[in-house]
Symmetry: C2
Subunit: 491 residues, 2 copies
Amino acid sequence: MAKEITSREQDYSQWYNDLILKGGLADYSAVRGCMVIKPHGFALWEHMRDQLDKMFKETGHVNAYFPLFIPKSFLSKEAAHVEGFAKECAVVTHYRLKNDPNGNGVVVDPEAKLEEELIVRPTSETIIWNSYKDWIQSYRDLPLLINQWANVVRWEMRTRLFLRTAEFLWQEGHTAHATAAEAIAETKQMLDVYAQFAEEWMALPVIKGVKTANERFAGAEDTYCIEALMQDGKALQAGTSHFLGQNFAKAFDVKFSDKDNKLDYVWATSWGVSTRLVGALVMAHSDDDGLILPPRIAPLQVVIVPIYKGADQKTLIDARVQELLNGLKKRGIRVKYDDSDNNRPGWKFAEYEMKGVPVRIALGARDLENNVAEVARRDTREKKSVSLDGLDESIAQLLEDIQQSMYNKAKAYRDEHITEATSWDEFVQLLDTKGGFIAAHWDGTAETEENIKQQTKATIRCIPLYNPQEEGKCILSGKPSKERVLFARAY
Amino acid sequence: MAKEITSREQDYSQWYNDLILKGGLADYSAVRGCMVIKPHGFALWEHMRDQLDKMFKETGHVNAYFPLFIPKSFLSKEAAHVEGFAKECAVVTHYRLKNDPNGNGVVVDPEAKLEEELIVRPTSETIIWNSYKDWIQSYRDLPLLINQWANVVRWEMRTRLFLRTAEFLWQEGHTAHATAAEAIAETKQMLDVYAQFAEEWMALPVIKGVKTANERFAGAEDTYCIEALMQDGKALQAGTSHFLGQNFAKAFDVKFSDKDNKLDYVWATSWGVSTRLVGALVMAHSDDDGLILPPRIAPLQVVIVPIYKGADQKTLIDARVQELLNGLKKRGIRVKYDDSDNNRPGWKFAEYEMKGVPVRIALGARDLENNVAEVARRDTREKKSVSLDGLDESIAQLLEDIQQSMYNKAKAYRDEHITEATSWDEFVQLLDTKGGFIAAHWDGTAETEENIKQQTKATIRCIPLYNPQEEGKCILSGKPSKERVLFARAY
């Protein structure tokens, strides 16, 4: 093979990096903690973004764009928010450079110091609610259902391509409502949108739940989340939706008059998913030969590779492929005919496997005589000889099958990795051997949660929605508990 | 009317601001020079972006994403580039805040100072060519045809909503080629894409040309541009496409081996358009009653307003409108039925005129009896009674007519405002009275160009492509000249 990938067994973490780098999804950059999203990775993100955007619009949201910079003083307006977010940020202090008097390029002009420093947004609640103050006066202005696609910066100390980068791309929804009930309904609706997107488009099964107070978004009353499981048994938070209560309305003095002309603070939500989802996608499905992408969001769904000797054979194959291309494109299938003569078919096979193209069609001279093509699916690596008659239809069906089968496989793995623990020893042993989600009783205190984290590195991923109620005793403290929560080590 | 707009005659500049603010396109923000793009404005930008993106992809380009931050030292690597760009930038010097020891919110943590300052990208040539160095080794890696949609920051002293803001959204194409000829062809191709987009989608006639050395992009060998004319007779640069020669390849040491294994520096282009186009669109077409948007990029193309007394009439109208909505949507027309009872029809008429919706359909009880609707077009304000039979088809045709008619009107205005000047007095007088483009001879020196600018505030907008050659004398210096160039005062 052209490029070698470390196996999962050998080094899971290196396997992941190999996939991202050699699969052409991203590259390191000259700026600490910031990555370059390469064309193949960006195309993947575009397909995810476009589908999410469609779902946001179908649920009544519109897009807008707010400034990249946040005045420093805004961050301290909401007390909990500043504790959670104001610390590791990129801070703009100057607005001009000048030629170095010593002749070494440019230096910061000390005379161009900002009166108030600007923070590169780590999230936009504060700058957005500062605008909402001017936009909302009456109940007629509500609900305000706005989303923005943007880049944000959080100065992370340890970064991983896609999973945790200093700059990342995301969407952040920010909505304003007249009642708490309406805002909570919105929070849950967007959680459902995220879950539906993850499961139906990314083939990624997720658990919907609520975060504990410890793990809540800084400034939220409640944080809902979807949690997914990776192949190494670690959990990954794939999206969050926050009910913000009236916290930001109070911090920015956003009131509305209701139908009876009574003034009240506005109720808020925010919700977001990011390019982190690309990392989740890679980790959930891929194997030691490269990426495995679900057909619905794969930038390229089908690749056709000709196998021939001499121009005569090529001409015959070209003609038949053209027909096939037309048929596939008419069905909206993203297909490429790779007849470049730079590389041999074997090299191409490995390359498209590496890139995760769901279906490969190989067509040789003998195949043509027999009116068949060799169809290989990436997920199971199964190969079949398939009739050229109606091939476009069978490929369309195959893409659907792959999508479903990838989801089933990931779900079976996930379900096998939700284990109940009844004793502390069992809990620790499960974490160290099997991994995955551990359903265990917890006494509901932040102290115990923190203790468990210190001792095991496991956190409470969520309290699942519609969680069965069951009497029990906390796995660590032994105190009484009314339900199990899901623990895991996580990305 | 609900909201009053200053007339163009009274105060052109205030008219523009009124349109942007009252038309719901954008708002000022708490950050100096940065605006908030409101939902109506962002929807407009989305339609423009999506069409441009499609045209970029049709010409073989792919999207990627590079870091927001540029290490300070990168800017000085290309000598001309640093002169043009390194000066007015947002500079990140620290990466952490901490609680103010005096209890006043947060302060910058002096211990978290970056070793090398980071510049918020004003444009991305340097950070991108630093990556291209790793991506390009052989002629097989070329051409590299990448575009990115991003936010950039230039610390402008005087800002105007959309036209000149500290942060703006744009796309920047950055391509790498094996030969100068290929890079020049790419530069021209993208100029054509921009011109086609401006004319066919924005209904905005443009002149394609080349910039003089003075007005060239910092680091380019040649800057091509499209120039448009606004209703106040000022020109506006609507897009640029740069042939960068080997300047950035040399600055970042990007070489490739050709088929004979000979090493050479790579040839480059870059090209971009920004949210400034939204400002151009507004200024080119709108009138004293509000925005006038070309149908092809109008977020909403048709609005239907019912006129009724009582629920019985409403029910009849609703039923007929539902049919009409289905017909229009089937044709892909973006239509809204505004039957809200918060506001009277007259208020709605004014509101949708303000927002620039190309076609308004009013349907009353008597109209229904007569099997007609009142159709009003926004651009000419013409109203007609039109048969309900086949109305969806006549609306589709009307939208096409409006698109064409808006272009024709803008083009007639533009063509009337290209005037030849033969003497300096005439030149100055034309600038002060008629405005528009002035075609005049120029001696080809930067000194004269600068002199003219100092005396009149007019700049050379471009030397038009395929410019007729004609002997003459420079309008200021009287020295010999071989062609006329286009001068104007500009945004």
